[in-house]
């Protein structure tokens, strides 16, 4: 669910006005099949470990880690890191080492209730070994000293920004969780808008986290998404709402909703795994997002539904944020404004899971 951000980051990197694309809310992915990129088709089963690595032929790809951590004093914080890969189809036969065939973009944030708002930073580079790149065959994406990589039996994420930094280890509790039909995740009634998509829920987190000048030992639970596609977003979509929740019983819940400018859902879907059970793909009819309490950003004036009611497979669940202000305001750089933060999943007043909620397209039309 990160294409929008990828687009924004790309514009950030280039200093380009992203207004034309952003206004349609379709990010960098146009509805029409972009020429020269392989299509995403149903029936191609995910192959591990090869599919953990990059798929440089496809247009857009990302590895997205979100999670909750608790430090030695019991303080709870959220964190997020994303590495994007974008194929430009420029200079593919250029002999120059600078040929901008692949762009690598990264974005990281920390949600600390003591700060009252998100700390975030971003980077962008053309892939140029060994300065930046995304490896095939295994998970490894990096820009300078920022990296997300798999080694032996765990992932490791290293982020070092001015206001915050972290070096975290993620140990998976089980095999990857394929979303949609064996990893083919449809985004609209028209199946050409789709991605290959799997998640790694219930990652055990350990490591260090620095907020400003203080470094903490932290542990917690995280969630990794890996998704790649060529034509991702339907034309009419203005934004979406997405959750990835690690359930307390060891299960996992992923759900998303594509929204039009008027707020109607054009597509919903999800994946649910209870405890140690088998995962189930949720059909559009089994997933409904109902906005609840709204919070208005004092910076941008944008209103976000920071609490939600979720109807998932006949159950009525609720989302509550770690803190209201998890708006990501990058008007100074990209102009992209969205909400992305740590949330609790509640059923009958009892917390049944923790994870991340992402809401895009709520602001005014972006004028960057």
């Amino acid at each position: 669910m990160r294409a929008y951000i990828a687009a924004a980051l790309l514009w950030l990197a280039s200093g380009v006005s992203a207004a034309p694309q952003a206004q349609t809310g379709s990010g960098s992915n146009d509805a029409r099949d972009p020429p020269g990129y392989p299509p995403v088709v149903a029936g191609r089963a995910l192959q591990f470990p090869a599919d953990h690595g990059a798929h440089p032929d496809y247009r857009t790809e990302w590895w997205y880690v979100t999670g909750w951590v608790t430090d030695e004093d019991g303080v709870e914080r959220g964190f997020q890191v994303t590495f994007f890969r974008v194929r430009t189809r420029i200079g593919e036969d250029s002999p120059s080492r600078f040929a901008p065939r692949q762009l690598i973009l990264a974005h990281a944030a920390v949600a600390d209730p003591a700060e009252g708002r998100l700390l975030h930073a971003e980077r962008g580079e053309r892939a140029l070994d060994p300065l930046a790149g995304a490896a095939t065959g295994h998970t490894r994406a990096w820009i300078g000293n920022w990296a997300l990589e798999w080694s032996q039996d765990h992932y490791r994420a290293i982020v070092d920004a001015d206001d915050f930094a972290y070096d975290l280890r993620f140990d998976p509790a089980g095999p990857p969780l394929s979303n949609g039909q064996d990893g083919f995740s449809q985004k609209a009634p028209d199946p050409q808008h789709a991605s290959y998509y799997y998640s790694r829920p219930q990652l055990g987190v350990s490591g260090s986290l620095r907020v400003r000048d203080k470094t903490h030992r932290v542990t917690g639970r995280a969630w990794l998404d890996h998704e790649w596609s060529s034509a991702y977003l339907p034309e009419k979509a203005r934004g979406w709402d997405w959750i990835g929740i690690n359930l307390s019983d060891g299960g996992a819940l992923m759900a998303f909703r594509m929204r039009t400018a008027t707020g109607e859902a054009t597509w919903t879907a999800g994946t649910l795994r209870r405890g140690d059970g088998a995962p189930r793909a949720l059909a559009p009819a089994q997933v409904a997002f109902i906005p609840g309490r709204r919070w208005r950003s004092p910076r941008t004036g944008t209103e976000y539904p920071v609490e939600w009611q979720l109807d998932i497979d006949g159950r009525r669940l609720a989302l509550q944020p770690l803190m209201d202000d998890q708006e990501l305001d990058s008007r100074g750089t990209t102009g992209a404004v969205y909400w992305e933060g740590a949330v609790r999943l509640v059923e009958d007043g009892r917390e049944i899971g923790r994870g991340y909620l992402e809401m895009t397209g709520y602001g005014e039309r972006l004028k960057m």
């Binding site: 990197a13 200093g15 034309p20 430009t88 189809r89 200079g91 580079e125 300065l131």
Partner: protein, 848 residues
């Protein structure tokens, strides 16, 4: 000063309107020229420095190499170093544009990195023509506002967004899409930005970059970083602070700027002389009036102050007019000749005129100083004289009894000689200029003695003549008795004639030397160039082979240019690789062109005079040149004369260059035509063979005339300043004779009574003017010869590091001298006209 005194002193200025106006004009011109030079170069340097800073952005250090760049693997190495927070690679190409003479600086950048290090170079797409990856597109280019404006002047270039721009890349012409602008570059910088990979491929520079700008990690000291990073750099690549690059350029043009400023200062000095002569005359004429004031109780100090105030007012008003004129001149210069006054130091910048309070105030003060300085001696003289004596009629002759000051004159000339032996200070020949000033002072000091000597000669001639020579005898008697009169009229003439003669000799020597030098360096029959300028165009070996195979061509000598960084403190030197052994000419001043390797096996290199001076190398020394990223030792086989590159140049054998660098490209090729074949026929054949390629074919005659045109343009400003100095000198003659004539009304009346006609008196005045001017011109010419020697041997040698053969333009100088004497005669005659109109009786009556 009270109102009455103000009336006494300042009103005197208003009474002698012509003299006042000419003094004002002289000071105004001096101030205007000086200020204009200052403004123009200040603005150009500022804009140039701004360009440097702009390109450097927030970089702490810059890695710079030769013009053809260095291996881009260095970027990957440096970007990973812990000392480096951000590294931004740049491939800078001076792109030649088809059918245009100017170049466009094209920066190949990594847009994702340039944003963090040099934000001003950030390309910004306009419109949607480029799509979302427009800034990376291989055929996309982004133009700074100044580049858009400059290129729009071309007829068929559509510089709007979505238009195309044609550039020369090697032998090809490539069309780039203009997808947006570089708004951060500001108004004065003419540049283009494109993706670094695209630029590498377009200009056949894959694997090469010309610069890396570094931002250091927090807490890393710049010197420490230099120390740790320097060992990683290949030979010929330097790690520089961004200020260093700007100061290298400023240093390069400093000598030229000082040169022009000195010329302006001499114009101002001449203005001061003029104030001196008019004030002296005015004081003489008012001798009785001033003595009367003293007798009435005016004290000496007030008198001195009053007379100085006259000079100060002249200086202030002249200065104000000069300031206004200076700004007008600068504005005109910017729009007509360009910011470097045609000398070619500041390519690619378009500075604007700005108000400079400091420079303006400084020149205003200089104007006042010239006025006060000029008024000082006459004022002192007037205040010292005893009122009782001055009240007596006919006392003014006392003033004109100038004594020769041999010791002072010899001392200043001797000191001038000593100063010529001293080295320059900071690249500026300070002592050479001081010597010139001393020569001028000395020549004014010897003037009384020369006048005496001349009068003795004239006396001899006069006594032989008889009859009509009564006028000559009268003139002789007058000048011999009052040499001070010649001194006053002549001082301004001496200074301006000396300056004009010196410049004439210097420029003539320079031009003749350049002309000879051009014959030496252009021995072939035809020259084929990849393009008139820039680095983006070159000739491939195939093209050279094609030229050699053209019927009628007997031999070809390709030339390759590059720049080498030998020293971080110096501007890079030019490397020239030519087949010397095959007879490529070297205009040697020392050593020989034998290109055999010595016993030590080192290949030969020939350095230009500038390089020999700047890097202190001599024939026989070993010289280490960074070629192909590694240092190589050469033996200095000779020193040659090079008027083209003031920062230094080194010539090596083309074969040696190619063996060391594997670079087989050339920038141009000298073509010799077989005996009996017309060069035009070969030129036509070559034209046909390379039709449609942007090669330029030139005969040596064209190159020579173009070069000399550039030379003349460079000296245009010099000529202008010279003309102004002479004009001011003539003002001096005219005003002093006008004042003298007024003062001598009674003498003329007496002569009329003795039977001289009005015409005779006119002739007498003309004769006196001619004699006075002749002495001034003679001394001026002698001083000018000395100043020219200093200019050629000291000032030019130290400023620009080139030698030249002295050529005295005898005919021109003689014509100039005669014209000046005649003009002085006419000026004296005209200025005396007023005095002669008075009736003889009235004039004589004044005495009683």
């Amino acid at each position: 000063m009270n109102a009455g005194l103000r009336h006494v002193f300042l009103a005197s200025l208003a009474r002698r309107r012509l003299a006042t106006a000419l003094s004002l004009l002289a000071i105004a011109l001096g101030v205007a020229l000086g200020l204009a030079v200052q403004l123009i170069h200040g603005a150009a340097l500022d804009e140039f420095g701004r360009g440097m800073r702009l390109v450097a952005g927030e970089a702490d250090l810059q890695v710079m190499g030769p013009r053809t760049g260095f291996d881009d693997a260095l970027y990957v190495v440096l970007a990973q170093r812990p000392e480096v927070a951000d590294a931004s690679p740049i491939l800078e190409v001076e792109a030649s544009l088809p059918q245009r003479d100017d170049i466009l600086r094209v920066f190949g950048v990594d847009a994702l990195r340039v944003r963090r290090v040099q934000p001003a170079l950030m390309p910004v797409p306009e419109g949607e023509a480029g799509g979302e990856f427009g800034i990376f597109a291989a055929d996309a280019v982004f133009l700074s506002p100044a580049a858009q404006a400059a290129l729009a002047l071309g007829e068929d270039t559509d510089v709007g967004t979505g238009g195309t721009l044609a550039v020369l890349a090697g032998p090809r012409e490539e069309h780039l899409r203009i997808l947006g602008s570089v708004p951060g570059a500001g108004r004065g910088q003419r540049l283009a930005v494109m993706d670094i990979a695209a630029a590498q491929q377009l200009f056949d520079q894959v694997g090469r970059i010309t610069r890396i700008d570094l931002r250091l990690a927090q807490g890393v000291d710049r010197d420490a970083a230099i120390e740790r990073l320097r060992p990683l750099l290949p030979a010929g690549v330097e790690l520089l602070a961004p200020e260093a690059a700007a100061s290298q350029v400023a240093g390069l043009s400093r000598a030229y700027r000082v040169n022009l400023t000195m010329l302006a200062a001499i114009a101002l000095l001449t203005g001061g002389f003029l104030v001196f002569s008019t004030q002296l005359l005015s004081v003489v004429r008012r001798r009785q009036e001033l003595a009367f004031l003293r007798a009435l109780g005016l004290d000496r100090r007030t008198l001195l102050r009053g007379l100085l105030a006259e000079g100060a007012v002249l200086g202030l008003v002249g200065g104000l007019v000069g300031v206004a004129l200076g700004y007008v001149l600068s504005g005109l210069a910017f729009s007509i000749v360009g910011a470097d006054l045609g000398a070619g130091y500041f390519e690619g910048v378009e500075p604007g005129l700005r108000f400079e309070p400091l420079a303006t105030a400084a020149y205003l003060v200089l104007g006042v100083a010239a006025g006060v300085g000029g008024a000082w001696l006459p004022a002192r003289e007037a205040s010292r004289v005893a009122p009782a004596r001055a009240l007596r009629a006919g006392d003014d002759v006392e003033v004109w009894r100038a004594r020769p000051r041999w010791s002072a004159a010899l001392a200043s000339l001797g000191l001038a000689l000593l100063l010529c032996l001293l080295p320059p200070l900071g690249g500026v020949p300070v002592f050479g200029y001081a010597a010139i000033a001393l020569i001028l002072v000395g020549s004014v000091l010897v003037l009384p003695a020369v006048v005496r000597l001349a009068m003795r000669c004239v006396g001899g001639v006069g006594s032989v003549g008889g009859g009509r020579s009564v006028l000559l005898r009268l003139a002789h008697a007058r000048l011999a008795a009052a040499p001070g009169q010649v001194l006053v009229a002549g001082a301004g003439v001496v200074a301006s004639v000396a300056l004009a003669a010196a410049m004439a000799i210097m420029v003539s020597s320079f031009r003749t030397s350049v002309d000879d030098w051009l014959s030496d360096v252009l021995p072939a029959d035809l020259y084929l160039r990849a393009s008139s300028s820039g680095t983006s165009a070159f000739l491939t070996p195939e093209v050279i082979a094609g030229v050699a195979a053209t019927p009628g061509v007997s031999s070809v000598q390709p030339v390759r240019y590059d720049t080498l960084r030998l020293d971080e403190a110096q501007f890079p030197v030019t490397l020239i690789a030519r087949p010397v052994a095959e007879g490529a000419a070297v205009p040697l001043v020392e050593g020989d062109a034998e290109s055999v390797r010595g016993a030590d096996g080192l290949p030969p290199a020939w350095v230009s005079e500038a390089m020999a001076d700047l890097f202190r190398v001599a024939v026989g020394d070993t010289l280490s040149l960074p070629l192909g990223g590694a240092p190589h030792r050469f033996r200095v086989a000779g020193v040659w004369r090079d008027y083209a590159r003031q920062h230094g140049a080194v010539l090596v054998e083309l074969a040696d260059y190619r063996a060391l660098t594997n670079d087989s490209r050339s920038n141009n090729v000298a073509i010799r035509v077989a005996p009996g074949v017309q060069a035009e026929a070969v030129a036509a054949a070559l034209q046909a063979q390379f039709d449609g390629r942007n090669f330029e074919l030139a005969a040596p005659g064209d190159i020579r005339s173009k070069t000399l045109a550039v030379f003349d343009r460079t000296f245009l400003v010099t000529y202008l300043m010279e003309a102004v100095a002479i004009l001011i000198g003539l003002f001096g003659v005219s005003t002093s004779f006008a004042a003298l004539a007024t003062a001598r009304r009674k003498e003329f009346g007496m002569l009329r009574h003795l039977g001289l006609t009005r015409r005779d008196i006119g002739r007498l005045l003309a004769l006196e003017g001619a004699l006075g001017a002749a002495v001034g011109v003679a001394v001026g010419l002698a001083a000018g010869g000395a100043v020219a020697l200093v200019l050629v041997e000291v000032v030019n040698r130290q400023s620009f590091h080139w030698s030249m053969d002295i050529r005295v333009p005898l005919a021109a100088l003689a014509a100039f001298a005669v014209a000046l004497v005649l003009l002085a005669a006419v000026a004296a005659r005209l200025s005396g006209y007023q005095a002669m109109r008075q009736a003889a009786v009235l004039a004589v009556r004044e005495d009683f």
